[in-house]
């Protein structure tokens, strides 16, 4: 469904991605791994239209989407959960969901249900300012927002970063439930989680793809993964 073909991306003169390619099939969960500064976030931002690739193309359902705005991509089913876990802190949790529902056309009650479905405890926080949520709850709210409307491709940047082990389990459970229902590209440094969920792993190093693992045997071999980092 998604093909990234030979893209370069840069901030000003600093080129960050070099000839990056990857391919995602419908319903697949692809993980991107790589060291800090490897360009993982840059790659997701480029796919989401927040950064324009200098060269190369990005195809979705066969059509070229490089150069489309994040707003347009949203309406094609792209959902981006950024690394910074920034919720709309001065709005309530319910209002956060309301914003997510606004342009998708989904009624608020259905949108709220979708979030409660992945995390029933959120019911107690609906009227709380989202800024008061814990890091894990924020992450879950952000993933919940991404499920509102008709998502087709989730782009999630380091969903478990900086979270406690219990919370990581909670998020792993949510991701596991989504697996197969939605296509997803997830940046993740937590290798055990990657091996458990990945259909495909792309290893990024200094802005280049140095390995693409497709076989379960390769993916399960954390040693191999760790070495390639």
């Amino acid at each position: 469904m998604l093909q990234v073909i030979g893209i370069d991306a840069a901030y000003g003169h600093a080129r960050v991605l070099h000839d990056v390619s990857l391919e995602l099939e419908e319903g697949e969960m692809l993980f991107i791994v790589g060291r800090n500064g490897a360009g993982k976030t840059t790659l997701l931002r480029t796919i989401m239209g927040l950064l324009r690739p200098l060269k190369g193309s990005i195809k979705f359902d066969g059509g070229d989407i490089a150069g489309l705005s994040p707003e347009e991509l949203y309406h094609r089913g792209f959902r981006y959960v950024a690394q910074d876990k920034k919720v709309f802190g001065s709005l309530t949790v319910r209002e956060n969901i309301e914003i997510a529902a606004y342009s998708s056309g989904e009624p608020l009650s259905r949108a709220v249900d979708k979030v409660l479905e992945i995390y029933p405890k959120m019911r107690d926080f609906l009227n709380l300012k989202a800024g008061q949520l814990s890091g894990g709850q924020r992450q879950i709210l952000l993933i919940g927002q991404a499920l509102v409307g008709t998502p087709r491709l989730l782009l999630i940047d380091e969903p478990t970063q900086g979270l406690a082990a219990v919370v990581i389990n909670e998020i792993a459970k949510i991701l596991k439930r989504l697996k197969g229902q939605l296509s997803a590209i997830i940046v993740e440094q937590n290798l055990p989680l990657v091996t458990k969920l990945a259909d495909k792993v792309v290893v990024l190093k200094e802005g280049k793809v140095i390995a693409t693992l497709r076989e379960a045997s390769e993916i399960c071999n954390t040693d191999l993964l760790e070495k390639s980092l």
Partner: protein, 277 residues
């Protein structure tokens, strides 16, 4: 002393009307808009022109002033500011300052440089406990408070308001949820311009209308917004009345220092609570 407090409240009310748009546009768009108080000046001048040259009543003159200033605000946003989103703050400084200078020169060209005083449209005074207050000033204060509550309602309860608040927190997040923020920025900007013009219209009978009134108030506006917190609307409200009061009371004892204290207060606030950029 009571009169100084009354005057302080009036100045605070005007400062609030002018500053709130400045705070709102900085908070949402990260644009420091030097042209902001141009719409304040335009509002005041159009009121004067309406009264003197067309001869319509004050209320309608005010509507014309606010309406035209909102339109000017729209043009400034659409044709200047919108091109600067995401650029460094220096560019927005230069571009909006240029707009400000051009605007002031156009005003001088049309209406000349001499101050144009206009009289209090109500002209009556009310007596409370032996003190006499002009009804007009009381009205100005009440209006500012009404605007505050109106704006609170708009920002907190309407979808447009919530989207603006969300964009204040995380603009990119809003865009990635399929909402084109620019439309909402325009609304916030025009609203801010209209309120600044309302400030100009209401202040015109209290002070004199002259081409440079905007540059003078701009500095105070900075002090208010920095004291109240950039993008913080309640803070702007409180800071306006606090600084208005400070200016007025200091002016009673030390006229030359009345406005300096506003900047000292700003500096103190910044020292205690630096801007998180």
């Amino acid at each position: 002393m009571i009169y100084a407090i009354m005057y302080g409240l009036t100045v605070g009310a005007i400062l609030y009307l002018i500053s709130v748009g400045f705070s709102l546009t900085f908070g949402t768009m990260r644009v420091i808009n030097f042209a902001h108080t141009l719409t304040y000046t335009i509002g005041a001048y159009l009121l004067v022109a309406s009264l003197r040259q067309v001869g319509i009543p004050f209320l309608w003159g005010g509507v014309v002033g606010v309406g035209v200033a909102a339109l000017v605000g729209y043009c400034i946003e659409r044709f200047v500011i919108r091109r600067l989103y995401g650029e460094s703050l220096d560019y927005t400084f230069i571009a909006t300052f240029a707009v400000f200078l051009i605007g002031v020169d156009i005003i001088k060209w049309i209406w000349g440089v001499y101050p144009k005083p206009i009289s209090d449209p109500i002209g009556r005074a009310a007596e409370f406990f032996g003190f006499v207050f002009p009804v007009y000033r009381i009205l100005v204060i009440v209006l500012a408070i009404l605007v505050f509550f109106g704006l609170e309602f708009f920002i907190r309860k309407t979808m447009v308001g919530k989207i603006i608040v969300a964009a204040l927190d995380n603009k990119e997040g809003v865009r990635c949820l399929g909402i084109g923020v620019e439309k909402y920025f325009t609304i916030a900007f025009v609203l801010g311009s209209a309120l600044a013009a309302l400030g100009g219209v209401l202040y015109a009978p209290i002070t004199a209308v002259h081409p440079y009134m905007g540059s003078h108030i701009l500095l105070l506006c900075f002090a208010v917004v920095l004291t109240g917190g950039l993008g913080n609307l309640r803070g702007t409200f409180l800071a306006s009345f606090f600084l208005g009061m400070l200016i007025s009371i200091t002016g009673r004892f030390w006229p030359a220092g009345s406005e300096i204290v506003a900047f000292i207060a700003m500096a103190l606030v910044l020292l205690l609570r630096p801007i998180e950029a």
